[in-house]
């Protein structure tokens, strides 16, 4: 049982890191632990639990800005902004059910550290794009800040971007400021049926380049569609497009989309309630949930150019019986592979490398995550820069050491 330090404020976080530095200890940084199973299976001397740093400290809806302590539950923030007709437009996914944990257990700090996003990534960006300001304790045991509370800011380097997606390896965030945006008045989803992956990819590209202005486009092959209640009755593959906005706009764009999609076959529609439920399921990759039929499979998250998604999917399906969920108009692949000793990392990465992009092993037993690279390995010059960046914030390798790559 490792030591757990649970600071109550930023000053105590600084103390904790200095304690670790003084004793040559390493720290695992956790919020509420919802994404703890992601990353290399590394060992730390003690745990730095940031869940005690909780609470929204500023929310001004008309200024589109919210500040919170890093351990604030994301669900609390989402409920607060929803009560004001707003949302976090980056639509942070919930890894909980995918990893076998509880739903809605994450913190805002965790969402930013993992650079979460969702189906709206194609239109509204990821956490990085909504992260305005931060206060954090670096691996030097010093508190620093970057950014601010305004959306337009080029004063100094944008360290928020760097911390987003750094998985706690550069600094322990204590306070964060994010952008909030009005939630769309309504939404609807247009469905196409029985397309193969390649045809779906073509249609998704056409729609994303049209006046339909879709805020999400996903393709679910038949076995996956069957696992989501809202589309299970289709009894086949489903390609889905979300349209959000004011009602007259949604109606108009539905017509635009339908005329574009007409040559592809029959068209279905989901109204607001079913549409919201469908995209939540896609956001959280529900067809691959830990308690579902694919729960024992190893899970890869692959980002590539949308037009090349189907190509990667075909290879992985043929070679290793992968099940693939396509989001981001084909640019994001969730690939669930039958369990193996190495999660077929070599094949996955070489397949992605031929078309460009990167792959992260999101779910696999600890032994597998200890045996293969979880995050995309970098070419030597880039890996060296990554290491120097890491060391500029954490020269002794105290914070989440080895979580992303060995030695980083």
């Amino acid at each position: 049982m490792t030591d757990t330090l649970k600071p109550r404020d930023g000053a105590e976080v600084e103390q904790a890191v200095n304690w670790a530095l003084a004793g040559g200890q390493t720290l695992e940084i956790v919020g509420r632990g919802s994404k703890r199973a992601i990353g290399r299976a590394a060992q730390w001397d003690a745990t730095l639990d940031l869940s005690g740093l909780s609470g929204v400290t500023l929310y001004e809806p008309a200024e589109l800005v919210l500040s919170a302590k890093s351990g604030t539950p994301l669900a609390e923030i989402e409920a607060l902004v929803a009560a004001n007709g707003q949302e976090l437009a980056f639509e942070p996914m919930d890894y909980g059910p995918l990893l076998g944990g509880a739903a809605a257990a994450g913190t805002i700090g965790g969402a930013l550290s993992a650079n979460l996003s969702g189906p709206r990534r194609v239109k509204a960006g990821a956490a990085r794009d909504h992260f305005l300001g931060v206060r954090a304790v670096s691996g030097r045991g010093e508190t620093f800040k970057s950014g601010g509370r305004v959306v337009k800011n080029v004063t100094g380097y944008d360290l928020c971007k760097l911390l987003a997606g750094s998985w706690g390896t550069l600094a322990a965030m204590t306070d964060v400021t994010i952008k909030t945006l009005p939630r769309a008045e309504t939404e609807a989803t247009t469905l196409l049926f029985d397309l193969d992956d390649a045809a779906a990819g073509k249609l998704m590209a056409a729609v994303m380049g049209s006046f339909a202005d879709a805020s999400a486009a996903a393709h679910l092959p038949a076995p996956l569609a069957a696992r989501i209640a809202e589309i299970a009755t289709a009894r086949g593959a489903v390609t889905a497009f979300r349209l959000e906005g004011v009602a007259p706009s949604v109606v108009h764009r539905q017509a635009v989309l339908e005329s574009l999609a007409a040559p592809y076959g029959a068209i279905g529609t989901l109204g607001e309630v079913a549409s919201r439920a469908l995209w939540r399921a896609i956001r959280d990759v529900a067809p691959f949930a830990a308690n579902g039929p694919a729960g024992a499979r190893d899970l890869w998250r692959i980002s590539t150019a949308p037009s090349r998604g189907a190509e990667i999917g075909r290879t992985l399906a043929q070679r290793v019986q992968a099940e693939i969920l396509y989001d981001w108009a084909g640019g994001l692949l969730w690939a669930a592979l039958p369990p193996s000793d190495d999660a077929r990392a070599g094949l996955v990465r070489s397949t992605v490398a031929t078309v460009g992009g990167h792959a992260t092993l999101i779910r696999a037993p600890a032994a597998v995550r200890a045996a293969v690279e979880v995050f995309e390995p970098e070419p030597p010059a880039l890996a060296a820069l990554t290491k120097r960046v890491r060391e500029s914030f954490d020269p002794r390798g105290v914070l989440n050491a080895g979580r992303m790559w060995a030695g980083v």
Binding site: D49, S146, V151, A205
Partner: protein, 497 residues
Amino acid sequence: MTVAMPELDSAVLARRAEIVAALKRIVPGEGVIASEEAMRPYESDGLTAYRALPMVVVLPETTEQVSAVLNYCHRQRIKVVPRGAGTSLSGGALPLGDGVLLGMAKFKRIRAIDFDNRVAVVEPGVTNLAVSQAVEHVGFYYAPDPSSQIACTIGGNVAENSGGVHCLKYGVTTNNVLGCELVLMSGEVLRLGGSHLDAAGYDLLGVVIGSEGLLGVVTEVTVRILKKPECARAALIGFSASEDGGECVARIIGAGIIPGGMEMMDRPAIKAAEEFVHAGYPLDVEALLIVELDGPRAEVDHLLDRVQEIARACGAVTYRASNSEDERLLFWAGRKAAFPAVGRISPDYYCMDGTIPRAQLPLVLRRMQEMSAKYALRVANVFHAGDGNLHPLILYDANKPGELDRAEQFGADILRLCVEVGGVLTGEHGVGVEKRDLMPAMFSETDLNHQQRLKCAFDENGLLNPGKVFPTLHRCAELGRMHVHAGRVAFPDLPRF
């Protein structure tokens, strides 16, 4: 010029002839410019109050040449200042007398346009507008649109994280760039990101964008291109008090409407613009708001009706909605010509660029009027109202002794005020040399040291664009030292389990 630049390295200057010869071996032909007369056009950027002749100008044409030039300078400990089109308003491309000015103007090709993936791969010397022009035949465009877009280049946009009038809805450069090829000061060539979303590993692209040429030189950029909205309409709304205009902006956003553009001008700016362009602006108002909505016609008309209701409720004294594309462009003509319009009513003007929380606008405008009286200089304001980015234009006459100094002091006071009310020193023009010495108003030494250590990770000898952004130059070895206070923290007083 009131800002101190790094001391000239006399050892480097003594070897100038040798350095020029070595650079000519890397970039043959006309690519190395060493005569004073031919270097003159490079002595300043858009911030013309600051001038310096570089030691030599190099205009490479290939990534290999950029890499070789940087590697040579890295080994020889020679400073390098990168430059795009030289439109920086903060002195980001101000040359150093003992440095190489690395001009990227010859990187002018659009390498690929990929409509299926909605990206364009361009060289850094391509102008911002040229990207949109290259894709407009299929109805696409590149969203960030800084007002210098005819001249400014994508490489410069990456360096400065440029914005524009549409960035509340469509984001700034960092939200619209997916990848780049980056040459480090050592000459190493890296690829960050690509045609996919979210680069692997650390978001290095996210820190390179907006790094003002201090971290590396970009030789290729992959930008997102978007389908142009079906239509756009603008409303021109006048208020008898800036508070009313500010309230209107807040209520529009509060109603869930994110306009494509939302600009505000104060009385002096309205007057100057109207006299210059005759856009039909009302002259008896204190604040004029341009609200532009874009999207499908049905949406635009629907939302414009709501904007009109909100404007009425906020006490608007004039309201006009554009009914044709010509009329919409006329509404914008005045705003877009605001800077030259102000140039007509004053021999010189100094353009500032702070961002404030929008609710602070009335207070900031009031305080600015007090400063205007104190410094005996007029000020006109244009304001990206949606995102709180304020551009006060301070009017002065450089030929009158002391006026430039007063204008600079006035400007510094405005920026300190922006920070005081919760805003920042610069929204889109960059720190450069102009705001460098104001950085401590916003950041502590610890904050700045964390930024400078990041610079060390990219450029260990501090040779790339030194003297910009950071008020104090530190050696990387000195910044890297650790001071662990073991005794004091052996048993931290915090809950443990």
